[in-house]
């Protein structure tokens, strides 16, 4: 019973809600509360693994929960891309929770219970997104994710935090209601269904100018994918405590965005349909622009988290690019990048948080020589950076390889150039941080004794850095796991 797929999916969404309830109930008992949430995180991960064990990389038929409009249900199914996303999000939740407890306590932040409760709702909605079997269900959970992460961004309650949270909400809700919802309803009016279907649901239903316009409504409407010019929310969200930036704004929320983008490209339009109509060509160029421009902006940022945020904007566009290339290689590369970038970027963010907890430094220019006193943290940062840059033997090298193959397939040599330049730019804005940490002398009067902060804060990034290595060797396995999404 417990090991049935349907039950497991339900549990993956319900257990985080139990964690939320637990946080409310044990508000004033920190150890019990955080322990309970940890248990829930582990159980959620197990539930997702049960789904994996049952279904492997097959695409199952949908299970409907309730019919909301005639012909539109809240319904779920399992398919490789979503399953991969669920595994990443729930697995990294465990690590981030450990880290979050260390961070929040080490930093004397307030309102822990509210913080972890909202975090849990966000995870629950991510599970909903991952297992949605139609665009309506996905949209529903997409919006819950926005609303539940808003208190996390505003968490500190300072004027800065309130302002950042306002930008966050305005862009995410604004784009999703004004553009994405329009696109969803329009799709329904055109196709008569919103079910994710291999090969798309719009083939033969639309032609001409409508296709690129509809794609544009989706591409900009999925604000969480941070496609320029709707990327401002991501740097604004950096006012949130670092665990939020690490899991939600490097993994869950932004990946929900690009995941939606891929789902729309693969299952609503269909890769072949996009290739035939050429509707996504403009999007490809825009994504390429976004990749380069965000990297350039990242170089100018002195605030470490802001620099990482712009780096994320750039990396997310890789995935959008993968979809817009409209080839199977591109889609696969985009899908794999969800996993690889998640592992790399969460490492970088957790390192940034560790530096903040241990030495209260936020600006890169203040981080002279810190690598000498926190070698593990800076070592993990180096590995994460190399993975983002895309050097073997780290996970990040595979998706870039596939994307380049995809670009070569379609004869877009300029795109190959863009990907290469982007790698160089990554080197230029990430490695100097590590260099500064290890090779510059410490500031005068700074403590010279080795101190990495509490173990809960430095261990998690070390683990995810290790994960970047592991993913390199499982790159092939991941690729064949994802093959069904391109119909192979």
């Amino acid at each position: 019973m417990i090991f049935e797929t349907t039950t497991a999916i339900a549990l993956a969404m319900l257990i985080p809600l139990a964690a939320m309830a637990g946080n409310m109930a044990f508000k004033d008992m920190p150890n019990l509360r955080d322990g309970f949430t940890f248990l829930c995180a582990v159980l959620t991960f197990c539930a997702v693994l049960v789904v994996l064990a049952n279904e492997g990389n097959s695409i199952t038929s949908e299970v409907s929960l309730i019919e909301v409009f005639p012909g539109i249900d809240i319904a779920f199914n399992v398919e490789p891309l979503g399953l991969m996303f669920a595994i990443i999000a729930s697995g990294l939740w465990i690590i981030t929770h450990i880290y979050g407890v260390g961070y929040m306590r080490g930093n004397d932040e307030k309102h822990h219970a509210r913080f972890f409760a909202c975090f849990a709702i966000a995870i629950s909605s991510v599970m909903g997104i991952a297992f949605s079997s139609n665009m309506f269900t996905l949209f529903l959970f997409y919006e819950i994710l926005t609303v539940s992460t808003y208190p996390l961004v505003a968490h500190k309650g300072t004027p800065d935090a309130v302002k950042g949270a306002r930008t966050y909400l305005a862009i995410l809700i604004g784009t999703s209601i004004a553009l994405q919802l329009t696109a969803v309803i329009w799709t329904y009016a055109l196709a008569g269904t919103l079910d994710f279907t291999q090969g798309g649901i719009l083939v033969g239903k639309v032609a001409g100018w409508v296709v690129p316009v509809l794609l544009g409504l989706y591409a900009f409407g999925i604000g969480k994918a941070a496609l320029m010019p709707f990327h401002k929310w991501l740097p604004a969200a950096m006012v949130a405590p670092t665990p939020v930036s690490a899991l939600l704004h490097a993994v869950a929320v932004v990946k929900a965005g690009v995941f939606t983008m891929l789902k729309v490209g693969i299952y609503i339009f269909g890769i072949d349909f996009l290739a035939e109509t050429g509707a996504s060509e403009w999007l490809m160029w825009l994504a390429a622009y976004s990749i380069i421009a965000a990297s350039v902006v990242a170089m100018t940022q002195d605030n470490l988290k802001k620099r990482l945020a712009y780096s994320t904007v750039s990396q997310l566009s890789y995935i959008t690019l993968g979809m817009a290339l409209a080839t199977s290689m591109g889609a696969l590369g985009g899908g794999m990048h969800i996993a690889m970038h998640a592992m790399g970027k969460i490492t970088l963010f957790m390192c940034a948080g560790a530096i903040y907890v241990a030495y209260h430094k936020t600006e890169i220019s203040q981080m002279q020589g810190l690598g000498r006193v926190m070698p593990i943290t800076f070592g993990a940062f180096l590995i994460g950076s190399l993975s983002i840059i895309g050097l073997p033997p780290l996970g990040g090298s595979w998706p870039k390889f596939l994307l380049m193959l995809g670009a070569a397939d379609t004869g877009h040599l300029i795109i190959i150039g863009v990907l290469m330049v982007s790698s160089l730019l990554n080197v230029a804005y990430l490695l100097p941080i590590v260099g500064r940490g290890f090779f510059r002398p410490l500031d005068d009067g700074a403590p010279t004794k080795r101190y990495e902060g509490p173990v809960l804060v430095w261990l998690p990034p070390a683990l995810t850095a290790l994960g970047c290595f592991v993913l390199f060797f499982y790159g092939g396995a991941l690729q064949s796991f994802l093959l069904p999404i391109i119909g192979q």
């Binding site: 909301v68 609303v147 505003a154 329009w186 009016a189």
Partner: protein
């Protein structure tokens, strides 16, 4: 389905339900005055509302799938006698009105004690019942002149109810006076319109009117009558630009009155417009179509944007909600103008969904007023932390007002947008979603005040009393429930839309 009942049949209670719907509250009102005790007054009013809710539900279930119930008053056959006629369209509106009355009364108990001078309490409940009678009567009756009679019953008692806000703020008196003048003009226009209809057809029964107009064709008198009716009811519905009475009346009326009126009285007027437009003036009627396209649509769009825009800049929570209501009425009119099954379903379901949403929000404000004495934002700082159980449902209401997926407000907007796309009016579709963004702004202003500002130093604030919290939570759960399990409102609304579109009163093809 009960058809026509001949005078000599002995009737079962079930067959008497339509008349009881009006009689129960109507008889409760004098009883309340005669008994004269506040507790008893409240208890009687509440009992009447509950009975009426049960009746509404029973009636809706009978016509849920289509068909109608005809009830002849005193056994006089229409068109001579007065006929009550229930179909899915008015059954849904009755369910809304009685449900709102049932949750408003428990809320009113504390709120009325706080806001209204104690010697007026029993009279307040009597007036409330009269107002309720009037609303029910307007909705249930199948006789055009009878609509006017009940309209006056509800309007006159509404003016009194609004004026009761004078205990807290004297401006309630001018607000009530404004409303009285405007409302009377509206009712006068309406009765003139009916006069024109009567003049050229010689009948007042709605079904009969429809038949005769279809038979004899149309003429300028009938057109003029239509114009008068739309303007008259447009005033009561606060249709832009006839909305000027609304912000003041809603702001200064006692909280309980605002809750009740915002959820019911404008919806009743929209219903009457729908009924006249579709059931009497056959919708194939090119004239009505032009009115919808050239008058309703632009006015609706202007209302959606201008009123929302004004709402953004309000510093008084209650007044902000009042402007938001004007914008939301725009959505309902727009659904009529879209003029297809989805659009009209959108209108019907938005009447219901917006009714529960706005009632919830006004209750929230009422609860805050009870504790802080004011609904201005600068007095509400940080209350989300001091009284979490009271403020949380306000957030749910706010989300539903925006139309966030998973809430009731989303369902109606979806139907409207879908209707617009089906017509190929994608500009209108985009305008609908854009105007929801303004709702995000004005709702979020309130939420930021409640949650993200620091409460006053050392402030201690108790949660609202249970008698307020329970109705609020019921409505909050309803806002989410009807956003996901949409069977009841959406099913009834689409039957209602079918009934209306088919042009007959209660018949479905």
């Amino acid at each position: 389905m009960a058809g026509t009942v001949t005078p000599h049949d002995a009737k079962t209670l079930i067959e008497q339900l339509p008349i009881l719907q009006v009689l129960v509250p109507f008889c409760t009102a004098p009883l309340i005055v005669l008994i004269g005790s506040r507790r008893m007054a409240w208890a009687l009013a509440f009992a009447a509302a509950v009975i009426s809710l049960v009746i509404s539900y029973a009636l809706l279930m009978q016509v849920y799938g289509g068909g109608f119930i005809s009830y002849q008053l005193g056994g006089w056959a229409p068109p001579l006698g007065i006929e009550y006629r229930v179909d899915a369209a008015n059954a849904l509106v009755m369910l809304l009105i009685s449900a709102i009355a049932t949750v408003t009364l428990p809320f009113a108990y504390e709120s009325v004690k706080d806001e209204i001078t104690s010697k007026n309490h029993t009279l307040f409940y009597a007036c409330f019942m009269l107002c309720y009678t009037g609303l029910m009567g307007v909705v249930i009756t199948g006789d055009a002149f009878n609509v006017f009679v009940f309209l006056e019953i509800s309007s006159l008692s509404t003016y009194v109810l609004v004026a009761q806000g004078a205990g807290r703020d004297k401006r309630a008196l001018t607000a009530a006076y404004d409303y009285l003048i405007m409302g009377t003009i509206g009712a006068t226009f309406f009765v003139i319109g009916i006069g024109f209809l009567f003049m050229s057809t010689g009948t007042l029964n709605m079904a009969d009117l429809a038949d005769r107009i279809a038979e004899q064709g149309t003429n300028r008198t009938i057109h003029a009558g239509f114009a008068f009716i739309v303007v008259g009811m447009g005033l009561k519905a606060a249709m832009y630009p006839l909305h000027l009475w609304l912000p003041k009346a809603y702001t200064f009326a006692p909280s309980a009155v605002t809750v009740f009126l915002s959820a019911t009285s404008t919806k009743m007027a929209i219903y009457v417009i729908l009924r006249f437009m579709f059931s009497i003036y056959n919708p194939d009627f090119i004239f009505a179509l032009n009115v919808m396209f050239l008058v309703f649509m632009p006015l609706a769009l202007i209302a959606m944007f201008s009123a929302s825009f004004v709402a953004v800049f309000q510093v008084n929570f209650k007044r902000m909600l009042a402007y938001s209501s004007i914008a939301q009425i725009g959505y309902m009119l727009l659904g009529i103008a879209i003029f297809n099954l989805s659009g009209l379903t959108g209108t019907m379901v938005h009447m219901f969904n917006h009714g529960i949403t706005k009632a919830l929000l006004f209750m929230g404000v009422g609860a805050l007023v009870l504790r802080t004495g004011s609904s201005f934002y600068n007095n509400l700082n940080g209350l989300g932390r001091l009284m979490p159980l009271t403020v949380a449902p306000i957030v749910v209401g706010g989300l539903s007002l925006i139309g966030v997926p998973g809430t009731a407000g989303f369902v109606s907007k979806w139907m409207l947008v879908q209707g617009a796309f089906e017509n190929g009016w994608w500009v209108v579709a985009i305008l609908i979603v854009l105007s929801s963004l303004l709702a995000v702004v004005y709702v979020w202003r309130a939420i930021e005040v409640l949650y993200l500002t620091e409460p006053a130093e050392g402030a201690k604030m108790a949660e609202a009393p249970m008698s307020m919290l329970i109705p609020m939570w019921i409505l909050a759960i309803a806002c989410i429930w009807f956003g996901v399990a949409t069977d009841l409102p959406l099913g009834a609304a689409s039957t209602a839309a079918e009934v209306l579109l088919s042009g007959s009163f209660g018949m479905v093809e």
